[in-house]
């Protein structure tokens, strides 16, 4: 055995029981954790989709119209709905974690968690409203 055994850094192979790749299906909290981690895939998807849209916009009206037609296909509508659900999950879990990640003090007293998390939601609604207003009304 000594010939075959090798250590990867931080992960000694001896005395480790093999764990299934599906370990997280055993408990709802684990499922939630894995889904939360997977939100990053949809974050990247949308960042790249938006970049693609900007490139189409740069190439001219025809290329842009072609891109918009692509967004209307059932495939993209379906993926966008799934992506929106995951992105919202990211937003909610991210905001709810801020009191844990960041302790805010005011006059020496710790600001209660619901207020720290809640202020994120207030700013979120405001920012979303401004963006929506610019893209629907502000450009006329």
């Amino acid at each position: 055995m000594s010939d075959l055994a090798h250590y990867t850094r931080y992960h000694p192979r001896w005395y480790r029981r093999r764990m299934s790749v599906w370990w997280w299906l055993k408990d709802r909290a684990y499922v939630k954790f894995v889904l939360r981690e997977l939100t990053s895939v949809f974050v990247a998807f949308f960042a790249l989709l938006y970049l693609w849209q900007l490139r189409a916009l740069a190439r001219g009206p025809d290329a842009y119209a072609e891109f918009l037609a692509r967004l209307q296909t059932p495939f993209f509508l379906t993926v966008d709905i799934v992506a929106l659900v995951f992105v919202l999950f990211h937003t909610i879990t991210w905001f709810n974690l801020t009191p844990t990640a960041m302790v805010v003090r005011m006059r020496g007293k710790r600001v209660p968690d619901p207020i720290v998390a809640g202020s994120n939601y207030v700013v979120w609604v405001l920012v979303s409203g401004i963006v929506a207003w610019i893209l629907t009304r502000g450009l006329k």
Binding site: A47, L77, T91, F95
Partner: protein
């Protein structure tokens, strides 16, 4: 990973995550659903073009694309590493994830810089 790299990536992860949390839902809802399905009127090509040509809009779009890509790279790296137990591929996964984010950032910078 070396001493300075990982803290930098954690910072980009958290800033990018915050940018995505605040801005992505509204943009994804408008561009992915409300405009394609005709719930709301999409801006015309010319109106959108003149908006994007403004330097502040371009800076906004660069931040909105680049930072969330690094958020993804850092989080997905650990998702692959822990979730799929790919312990022997640590370096390969890191290079792949941060590499994709870097290429995306470069393309975004190039595209937005040339939007004149």
């Amino acid at each position: 990973m070396s001493g300075r790299f990982t803290p930098l990536m954690w910072t980009l992860f958290s800033v990018g995550g915050t940018v995505a949390a605040f801005l992505f839902p509204v943009h994804l809802f408008l561009n992915g659903l409300a405009f394609p399905l005709g719930w709301l009127d999409a801006p015309s090509y010319d109106a959108l073009l003149s908006l994007v040509q403004h330097p502040i809009t371009r800076l906004y779009l660069f931040v909105m694309i680049a930072l969330p890509l690094f958020h993804w790279a850092h989080r997905f790296r650990y998702t692959l590493y822990d979730g799929l137990q790919l312990y022997h591929l640590t370096v390969f996964i890191a290079v792949l994830c941060y590499g994709v984010a870097l290429v995306g950032t470069a393309v975004a910078a190039y595209t937005l810089w040339n939007f004149a």
